[in-house]
Amino acid sequence: MLKHRVIPCLLLRNGGLVKTTKFRDPKYVGDPLNAIRIFNEKEVDELIVLDIECSRVGREPDYALIEEFAGECFMPLAYGGGVSKVEQAKELFARGVEKLCIQTAALADLSLIRQIADRFGSQSIVVSVDIKKSLLGGARHYSAARQRTLAGSWTEFIRAAADAGAGEILLNAVDRDGTLSGMDVEIIREATAACSVPIIAAGGAATLAHMRAAVDAGASAVAAGAMFVFHGPHRAVLITYPRYHDLISALDR
């Protein structure tokens, strides 16, 4: 039986690991390579590393650093941040990344997704979609790089992204990011109804019960940051990951 994946999602900023709250206030949490080694030892299902600055400031991915990450990952590694050309994708795959996570370039034009999928396969492309709730509670499509909500239907966007060749959608609930307050099952339900590719739900997970709620809403995988890097009420940095049998009994039974 296919397991529901549980994926630590690590944020990179100036070569260091940070954790945000609602996409703001990045707090330094340590050396990324060290964290990745620990996650590898804990046999995590997969790892996502997102450079949260590249697209914002128009910088190239840090290829050498990403190659070092890939060398420590004996599980799939997805990288996101600053990818807007097929040549960059080729370079990253050659350095050992399995998947690219693309948001900013996909918002501008889905043809990049089509080109990468045609050449490297749909399984190598994750389109990242950020959702922010408006004051009235409506779910709005959000651009992390431009830090503003976007016009247009986000469910139509993910359908178009899947049609263009995206193999997965990373669905981020911006308002839940770093809050450890539980996941937004409503948008997960809408996303899984809108397209047939796997949905990776992110934002708000603190417990396996939160993750179970996301899976029950249709998510194929759950990503989390704060849950795996913080410990206790004072948010001390501690890298953790649930044990395999705990994951199975919480999510797959």
Partner: protein, 199 residues
């Protein structure tokens, strides 16, 4: 000497990493000369079927790979590499290498999310050194949208369940294909890679 066949469509760094972790070494090459001297071959895989086969042809590799297989050199195809060993795939119009009599079809059940993406287990149906002593909970990473239909059921080594069983490993003499990624499957993939080194 193990040669990881470089045809600009595989995630080669990961395969080399895992071979080294398993205690072996390999070279990465797309040159016919190197492949002629190989004692083992790995055809890795990420990408689409026609793109892969076109690049193998552009480097004149299919014929030299077939020669090595006839000479008894073990060949392991991983994911797309497994698919390229077959006759055809619905994903493309080009014929595959034809080393295993199988055809690939896209997962078609409307209730299934495609790609089949994530960790899954094997049900070993035929004894083979590569899949020796696999535990029921041993898990492997899959990421694919097409699956094999073998013309000869005796070629099937293992099946995996995704909306019903599909062929997740097959072999014909010294040619083996696995649909999952041993290089990305933690200690389970490591063990498989060690067994391949011993083959």
């Amino acid at each position: 000497m193990i040669v990881i066949v470089d045809y600009e469509a595989g995630n080669i760094a990961s395969v080399l990493n895992m071979i080294r972790k398993a205690g072996g070494d390999a070279i990465v090459s797309g040159r016919a000369d190197d492949i002629k001297r190989a004692s083992k071959l790995i055809l890795p895989g990420v990408g689409s079927f026609d793109h892969g086969i076109t690049h193998l042809q552009a480097k004149s590799l299919p014929s030299v790979m077939r020669e090595r297989v006839v000479a008894g050199v073990p060949l392991l195809g991983i994911c797309l590499g497994m698919q390229l060993l077959a006759l055809r795939s619905e994903e493309g119009v080009q014929p595959g290498l034809g080393l295993i009599r199988a055809n690939f079809k896209r997962f078609g059940r409307p209730d299934l999310r495609v790609p089949h993406m994530g960790w899954n287990t094997l049900n070993v149906t035929r004894k083979h050194p590569l899949l020796d002593n696999i535990g029921e909970e041993d898990r492997y990473y899959f990421a694919h949208s097409y699956y094999a239909l073998c013309e000869d059921p005796a070629d099937v080594l293992a099946t995996t369940d995704y909306g019903g069983p599909f062929v997740s490993a097959y072999a014909q003499a010294n040619v083996v294909g696995v649909q999952f990624h041993p290089e990305k499957s933690h200690r389970f993939g490591l063990r498989l890679m060690k067994r391949f080194l011993e083959m």
